[in-house]
């Protein structure tokens, strides 16, 4: 039996920027970008579920982000996660990878009881690939990044095929270990319709607080108790729940600062327009010959 914790992140869908999210000045309106489940994290969850299918154990998914990040935790439940945790607090906002990995590592210590931590290699909003290794360092456990396949898992040792520059290598590691997985390493399973029906009503603390706000007959403590009983409560971890030094969280705990941001404005440039005809292309080839390109 092996227990896994999976690190997941909700990210803006930066890959599909359409005209609808563009502002008049040619910059992107970030608030309008749809939020999605970072794909490589979904593959990480699939890895964890496969370990569970084969050897038994428990799969917990953890995300750090604003309360709405619990959307992807519901998706984790639909896929088969046994427990989900939303690590959220205003004090965590604005964190760079160092502050993020610090809070995540403390949340993981709180959740405890793990053999393998899985995560995507990187998230599409920053592409840094830093949170995995930094979390492993803070937990004091080994890391296997760029994993493509689990080849063997026995006697508390795992054998993994991982990508390296120009090829691959096979490494063997004692548990516990943190593994980041590469895109293409597995196909995330579809949502189970049974689980979808069971968990679509799962609520986080923030969701329940909203319900209470508009209804004087509801009491938050009772509601939390009720949702916990029905196994529909998305566990929320704040600075009250995990033992963190506020100085190391969020903006305060982030050594990297954004000094300047320049929007990339998409303005028309000066290029020579070539007609898509035989004649046009003939002229183009002529100018390239003249420029000694050909």
């Amino acid at each position: 039996m092996y227990n896994s914790i999976v690190l997941v992140k909700q990210v803006p869908d930066t890959a599909n920027i359409s005209g609808k999210v563009m502002k008049d000045d040619g910059t992107v309106n970030r608030a309008k970008l749809p939020a999605i489940f970072n794909h490589e994290d979904k593959i990480a969850l699939e890895f964890a579920l496969q370990v569970k299918d084969k050897f038994g154990g428990k799969v917990s998914a953890v995300t750090m982000g604003p309360p709405r990040a619990s959307d992807i935790l519901r998706e984790c439940l639909y896929m088969g996660a046994d427990a989900v945790y939303c690590v959220t607090d205003r004090k965590f906002a604005g964190a760079d990878t160092l502050a993020t990995s610090y809070v995540l590592s403390e949340a993981i210590k709180k959740i405890g009881n793990y053999d393998i931590i899985f995560g995507g290699r990187q998230a599409i909003d920053g592409d840094t690939a830093q949170v995995g290794p930094q979390t492993a360092e803070k937990l004091g456990i080994p890391q296997i990044t760029y994993a493509e396949e689990i080849l063997e898992l026995k006697d508390r040792k795992i054998k993994v095929k991982r990508k390296i520059d120009g090829g691959f290598e096979i490494v063997e590691c004692q548990l516990p270990v943190l593994i980041t997985v590469l895109k293409g390493a597995a196909d995330p399973r579809p949502f189970s319709s049974k689980k979808l029906m069971a968990y679509k009503g799962a609520k986080s603390l923030a969701d329940l607080e909203k319900m209470v706000e508009g209804n004087s007959l509801l009491y938050i403590d009772n509601l939390v108790h009720e949702y916990k009983e029905r196994k529909l409560f998305i566990e929320t971890l704040t600075t009250d729940d995990i033992d963190v030094d506020p100085e190391r969280c969020g903006v305060k705990g982030s050594p990297t600062k954004v000094h300047k941001v320049e929007s990339v404005v998409l303005a028309g440039g000066n290029h020579i327009q070539i007609e898509p005809t035989k004649d046009g292309i003939s002229k183009l080839v002529d100018s390239l010959i003249e420029d000694r390109i050909f």
């Binding site: 803006p12 930066t14 890959a15 920027i17 992107v28 160092l98 990995s101 599409i124 909003d125 920053g126 592409d127 840094t128 690939a129 830093q130 290794p133 930094q134 360092e137 080994p142 890391q143 990044t145 390296i164 520059d165 120009g166 090829g167 691959f168 290598e169 096979i170 490494v171 063997e172 590691c173 270990v177 895109k183 050594p255 990297t256 600062k257 954004v258 000094h259 941001v261 320049e262 929007s263 990339v264 998409l266 303005a267 028309g268 440039g269 290029h271 020579i272 327009q273 070539i274 898509p276 005809t277 035989k278 046009g280 292309i281 003939s282 183009l284 080839v285 010959i289 390109i293 050909f294």
Partner: protein, 337 residues
């Protein structure tokens, strides 16, 4: 006060140094000069003294050599422990890593243990005095990278920590080998393996020399997501074959499985500077442009007349590539054969 230090981690694979490390030394030399500092190379491996010697051709003032049979294969824990110890002792101002698989595994681990700032995949690095929150800072490292899906270019600084770290992709910085090497000054640092290192063992490694050489190709024909399918990429191979070029792809095309990732051009792929770059069905996100905008001539072929790729192109053709490329091949053959 001692001079500020710029360090470059010299990556080697089976004893062969990575190009990106020498590119970083060339950039590191400039950064060191700009702040009146010195450049050091950190060489870790087994039988790698020659690599340390070679770094002196790239403006290195001193090299740290950590040589041990247990360090033949890169492993996170021993390599990170070595750097962690050296960094905490000497407190360099800047440490640079290649944004390779090894660099992206090692740099964050070291940044975490030394609590340093780290910026991934920088497309430019500069030294500048900065006013941040009304406080003046001298000679900070500006870490410049596209962010947020390429819609912004961010300048990142790490003002409050002693060590500033960054990773840079291969090909982004230009390599400059001096004819006359600096005076060789190698300091050998002893290494003692620990039991903890052996929790992870490398069982076997397979590497193949890549047959694709985008960096050296005079002509590159690149396709994007707009091409629609893997089959349609065959047309690009036909064109490349006809005019003597290599085929590349944008990240979107790689993600869609149209073309393997070793052919990816852009911020998270390879940076190229060919004579001619033909961009087919590529919209031209900043990350892609970061990898090809220094091409001598750029031709863009796209069905969307508003595609940003046209902004940086010398020639633009609005239309269907499936129709235009065969015409191009035919015309080329007719005129040049």
């Amino acid at each position: 006060m001692s001079k500020p230090q710029v360090w470059v981690f010299i990556e080697q694979r089976s004893g062969k140094p990575a190009d990106v490390s020498f590119e970083l030394l060339s950039k590191g030399r400039k950064l060191a000069d700009n702040m009146g500092g010195i450049l050091k190379s950190i060489v870790i491996g087994h039988n790698v003294k020659e690599i340390a010697v070679e770094t002196f051709n790239y403006g290195v003032n001193e090299s740290y050599l950590i040589n041990h049979p247990e360090l033949f294969y890169y492993r996170t824990l021993p390599y990170s422990r070595i750097l962690d110890g050296l960094i905490k002792k000497e407190v360099p101002r800047i440490v640079l890593f290649g944004a390779t698989v090894i660099g992206r595994d090692l740099a964050p681990h070291v940044a975490s243990s030394t609590k340093s700032g780290l910026t991934a995949d920088c497309t430019d690095l500069k030294i500048s005095d900065v006013n941040y929150l009304n406080k003046p800072f001298k000679n900070l490292l500006l870490q410049i990278r596209p962010a947020f899906g390429g819609n912004i270019i961010a300048t990142i600084i790490t003002p409050d920590v002693p060590v500033q770290m960054a990773t840079v992709r291969e090909g982004v910085m230009e390599m400059h080998r001096f004819d006359k090497p600096n005076e060789i000054k190698i300091r050998e640092i002893p290494f003692t393996p620990t039991e903890l290192d052996d929790v992870l063992k490398v069982i076997e490694q397979h590497r193949e020399e890549s047959k694709v050489n985008l960096k050296g190709a005079p002509i590159i024909v690149a396709g994007g997501y707009g091409l629609g399918s893997k089959e349609n990429f065959n047309l690009l191979f036909d064109l490349a074959k006809a005019i003597g070029g290599e085929v590349a792809g944008s990240r979107a095309a790689v993600d869609a499985g149209f073309i393997p990732s070793e052919r990816q051009v852009g911020q998270t792929g390879v940076t190229v500077r060919p004579k001619l770059y033909i961009a087919v069905g590529i919209s031209g996100a900043i990350q892609h442009r970061a990898g090809m905008q220094e091409a001598n001539k750029i031709i863009a072929i796209n069905t969307d007349p508003e595609a940003p790729i046209f902004d940086i192109s010398h020639y633009g053709i609005v239309g269907d590539a499936m129709d235009i490329i065969p015409k191009f091949i035919e015309t080329y053959k007719h005129k040049l054969k």
